[in-house]
């Protein structure tokens, strides 16, 4: 160790402070879910779980939850197919424009969401409207899938880089057709990567709001319901309960995915070094 004891103590303190800064707001929203009063003052005077049942009985919130789950499932399915295909192409072949593909899948989350959202909204209104497509579940899924592709792509490509390409050829030599090779040789290798990518895509889609506002029309996903309900102070306790729920739903898949992806890394092909969130990892 090159660092002096003092440096290391200071680093520990700094790391602790940053970690506290990251988690205190999450804990606060968790505590407020148990706040009995409608006013959002600190300190919380009385704790109660009464808002949980009230939130559960809120029909609009329940409808929004169903829509969010459907949208996330649809977007995850599309992202799994597109991301896996693109990752297989980029990892197994050299071709003109290979770098462009890696760049193109990242762009939807690198550019501001408002631009993606506005662009999709303009297209749905101007181009798809005349041919009978209107805002709804399908447009939400299309928007979400577009930026979810990258997390599946990154997970699968990291796994493919570690796998040996000659196994596919060996499988073919032993008489397997393309489907059998995919089913019995490639899929078992990719399984946890697909699961991790799928979970992250689900988490990404489930709490997305920036793009969804533009693609949902009059429909409300759970985050849009939260966004709309913020304007009604009397409903804030319910919002807090739903917020806690949304946080848990998005955290659990991420936690499982980070375990699945091998060691600590989500997408890293050299774990735990460079264990960077999948969206940060440019292949």
């Amino acid at each position: 160790m090159v660092e002096s004891t003092l440096t290391r103590v200071l680093l520990r303190v700094g790391a602790g402070l940053t970690l506290a800064f990251m988690y205190v707001p999450l804990l606060v929203i968790g505590l407020y879910a148990f706040n009995q009063n409608v006013t959002q003052a600190w300190p919380i005077e009385n704790y109660s779980t009464k808002w949980f049942s009230i939130a559960f009985e809120n029909e609009r919130a329940r409808d929004a939850l169903v829509l969010s789950v459907l949208a996330a499932l649809g977007a995850t399915a599309v992202a799994l197919v597109l991301g896996t295909l693109a990752a297989m192409a980029v990892s197994r072949y050299r071709f003109f424009g290979r770098e462009v593909i890696s760049f193109a899948v990242i762009l939807p989350i690198a550019l501001p969401g408002i631009i993606t959202g506005l662009a999709l909204q303009a297209t749905i209104l101007d181009v798809l409207g005349p041919i009978g497509v209107s805002f709804g579940l399908s447009t939400i899924i299309v928007g979400h899938a577009t930026f979810c592709v990258v997390v599946v792509y990154n997970n699968v490509i990291a796994r493919m880089r570690r796998a040996v390409g000659s196994i596919d050829e060996a499988s073919a030599d032993l008489g397997a057709d393309s489907w059998q090779t995919f089913r019995y040789v490639m899929l078992p290798q990719m399984r946890t990567a697909l699961l991790a990518g799928g979970l992250l895509a689900f988490a990404l889609s489930f709490d997305e709001v920036v793009v969804t506002i533009f693609t949902a029309g009059a429909q409300q996903t759970l985050p849009i319901w939260i966004f709309a309900t913020l304007a009604r102070p009397a409903q804030l306790p319910i919002v807090n309960v739903v917020a806690l729920f949304v946080i848990l739903v998005s955290i659990v898949p991420v936690y499982i995915a980070s375990r699945l992806a091998g060691g600590a890394g989500l997408t890293s092909d050299r774990p735990p070094r460079g264990a960077v969130a999948s969206e940060l990892q440019a292949p």
Partner: protein, 298 residues
Amino acid sequence: MTTVPVAETPPQEGLGRRLSTFFFRHPRTRLAALLALPVAWMVVVYFGSLVVLLLSAFWDTDPFTAEIVREFTLENFQTIIERPVYRDVAWRTIQMALLVTLADVVLAFPIAYYMARVASTRTRNLLVVAILVPLWASYLVKVIAWRTILSDGGIVNWALEPFGLSFDGYSTVGLWLVFTYLWLPFMVLPIYAGLERIPTSLLEASADLGGRSLTTFVRVILPLAFPAIVAGSIFTFSLTLGDYIAPGLITSEQFIGTVIYNIRGQALPTAAAFSIVPIVVIVLYLLVARKLRAFESL
């Protein structure tokens, strides 16, 4: 990929097998079959939509009905360049993005350094997960949490009260705090990865040559970690630049995102033209970042 000639047994019949043989003999076709769907999706859905948006920046708006008139005009760009309000908003947003980036570097560096060079492997792996969880936790919920924390009766003012102080959380400074919070994990992870790549022997060499801790830090660690810092700043900078939800919920001050969001109803062409500003700024930022070799640290 080398093609191995195997032709002893004649291929069995069956569609699947014939298809496999065909794809094996034509790797280019196989590649095309793999790429067709994802490329079509990205080109048609994503780039197609972006083109529709950019095109609408050249359309006219009827001043009375706010209807879009599909006639080519450069008026929207003229509006954005000439009206000082747009310039002020753009400049305010860029300043905000830079200040958020700065704050995030300061907050991220100690924990990244601790993870990369001090913590045990076990602690390090736990910390990586601990950073990833808030990164993925619902963005909207995090903003709401801060709205509660920064309110008049919230935690911040409760903590300041004994000192006779108060803080207007729903202000530009409050928003700066919120942005700093939101994008912090995006800064920690690249810096951590960058610091971890520095070989310990380099730091020992610096110490052997008489470099004190501070000298080693400034002349060895910082220059080597710089591309990673720039890599993290790509996220803190570009995410701040386009956001409209956090500014809308925290302050009444206008930023690029909120302006685009607010005017899109009556003046979509102007909104489209204004949305080119963050795109251009981000592309320029990415070009500079590439020059600084930040992409290798992503």
